[in-house]
């Protein structure tokens, strides 16, 4: 095992938390049962790292096998780093019958055609997600395994989730994805977050949605929290209405965990009391960012407690309705109206 491989393995073992180390190594199944037994997983990380390094040297683990271990760990623990969502456009007729083997072959061959030195690993997870790990290299150098890109795609849907990839290599990845999934284009879905399952649930509408209904259900005695008859809540009906409208805009129960909502304004500054700013030429550029551990819960609470006005403003409810958290707002004309204008990142191919 050469130095870079050792370095990779060391970093990896340090990253995996001790309590998950044994299960991940078992899943990797490159070490014999005796070897795993010989390691005491309650020791300090440093001793563990040394022991495992020694064992892997014995087994002569290759870079490819270590990359596999990293992938196993990533699949178990995907909420590290930012995930960006993309949407595939214009499927061809046979896109909906795409199978895993076909996709694998096509993707590998397309990417190898575009860039000679890449290292690709594809794995199918139990919930039908296809995980792809790509280590990029230049024309000359070997693939860099320290900064891989992970791609998650659900076959036969049009959504792709990608971790960080440099802007130089993004077009190559997009091209390979588009060709191997039999679509004609790919665009940025403007949705990003730390939690992969959360952005997936938001895009694929797998959270508890509430639909407006004129006649509420007959079994309306869910929360009988006011136990004492001498306590009277005067505006209980208004509070219930507000809560219902907030849930209609954002969803009920636990909501997918997004970390921020960013609004980029490119409008004209309008304030009758501030003449100097209003008279300035050109657009006024401003970025408004809402951040929270769970931004959708925060927005829903704002709406149901009356801090945000009801009915919920379209700028806020678009986060769930359009499943995106980056918006660009421009003026349609020099007049007082303004509208939401989507910044699209289209990449089309000719096939």
């Amino acid at each position: 095992m050469d130095v870079s491989t050792k370095c990779l393995l060391q970093r990896l073992i340090r990253r995996i938390p001790s309590h998950m180390l044994k299960t991940t190594l078992d899943q990797w199944s490159r070490l014999t049962a005796a070897q795993i037994q010989s390691v005491d997983f309650t020791e300090s990380k440093r001793t563990l790292t040394e022991k495992l390094l020694a064992i892997c040297e014995e087994n002569e683990c290759s870079v490819s096998q270590i990359a596999e271990l990293e992938m196993i760990h990533m699949i178990e623990n995907p909420n590290v780093g930012m995930w960006y969502a993309f949407q595939l456009l214009e499927p061809q007729d046979d896109a909906c019958t795409l199978e895993l083997i076909q996709f694998k072959e096509q993707f590998k061959s397309h990417l190898h055609q575009l860039l000679r030195s890449v290292s690709i690993k594809i794995k199918r997870h139990t919930d039908d997600a296809v995980w792809i790990r790509i280590a990029w290299g230049d024309g000359i150098s070997r693939p860099n395994h320290l900064k891989p890109t992970y791609v998650v795609h659900y076959l036969q849907t049009s959504y792709v989730f990608v971790t960080s990839v440099t802007s130089k290599l993004k077009p190559l990845l997009s091209q390979a994805l588009v060709l191997s999934t039999k679509h004609h284009g790919i665009k940025d879905a403007n949705l990003s977050g730390r939690n992969l399952m959360a952005i997936r649930d938001l895009l694929m509408n797998q959270y508890q949605q509430v639909f407006p209904s004129k006649y509420p259900s007959l079994l309306a005695e869910e929360n009988q929290t006011v136990s004492n008859p001498r306590i009277e809540k005067e505006q209980a009906q208004m509070a219930a209405d507000r809560h219902k409208m907030a849930c209609e805009a954002f969803g009920d129960g636990t909501l997918p965990q997004l970390q921020s909502a960013v609004y980029k304004l490119e409008t004209k500054f309008k304030d009758p009391t501030n003449k100097t700013m209003t008279d300035r030429e050109g657009t006024f550029k401003c970025v408004v960012k809402f951040a929270s551990t769970n931004i959708l819960e925060s927005l829903r609470h704002c709406a149901s407690s009356g801090i945000a006005s009801i009915p919920v403003a379209p700028l806020l409810s678009s986060v769930t309705l359009k499943a995106r958290n980056r918006f660009v707002i421009t003026d349609s004309d020099p007049g007082p109206s303004s509208q939401i204008h989507q910044a699209q990142n289209n990449l089309t191919t000719d096939s």
């Binding site: 004492n228 001498r230 009277e232 809540k233 005067e234 009906q237 509070a239 407690s305 009356g306 801090i307």
Partner: protein, 184 residues
């Protein structure tokens, strides 16, 4: 304008009704639960987010003896909501039947101007200003005790004392150096 009137209904026997107005609707629930535990008097508690109260419930509502505005100093919205609700009270209430209760006064992020503004408001209306701690059960219990004392007087259940007499003693006064800049 639907004003809340203090003497337009008959009182109940050995009963007192209190209205807690709070924009956040948090502290009022714990105070209400503690208030109804009182045994010597039957306490009816009405909770609202802001005034005016809905007209539909006017018939069923008992005569309200004391109106308490709970203001959370951390949020400007809380103070503004209380200020706008004041317009919906009949002037008769301001003779000792209104009280201001303030929470989170010790919080470092509260601007000094807000507490001063609440003080000025309470002083201009001749109402008492109480400070409460809302996070612990002890804080809730002591706030409830103080409210009960004022409530019993406002409901006329304490002999020789009326709400107007009590408010003369307990009303908020402005310290003479309120217009001086503070130390930080």
């Amino acid at each position: 304008m639907s004003l809340l009137k203090p003497f337009s209904k008959l009182p109940g026997l050995n009963a007192a009704s209190i209205l807690l107005v709070e924009s956040e609707e948090q502290f009022q629930q714990s105070v209400a639960d503690a208030l109804v535990m009182e045994t010597s008097v039957t306490v009816n508690v009405i909770l609202a987010k802001s005034l005016p109260l809905p007209m539909e419930n006017d018939e069923r509502r008992p005569r309200i003896d004391l109106v308490v505005f709970i203001i959370n100093l951390i949020s400007e919205l809380s103070f503004q909501s209380a200020e706008t609700s004041l317009k919906y009270l009949d002037p008769g209430y301001f003779l000792g039947k209104v009280c201001f209760m303030v929470t989170n006064a010790r919080n470092a992020s509260v601007p000094v101007e807000r507490l001063d503004a609440v003080r000025r408001l309470a002083a201009s209306l001749h109402c008492p200003l109480l400070f409460a701690e809302d996070q612990t059960p002890d804080g809730v219990a002591s706030a409830t005790e103080r409210l009960l004392i004022i409530l019993k007087v406002a409901a006329g259940l304490v002999p020789i004392t009326t709400a107007l007499y009590l408010s003369n003693l307990t009303k908020c006064t402005l310290p003479s150096d309120i217009d001086q800049p503070s130390f930080d």
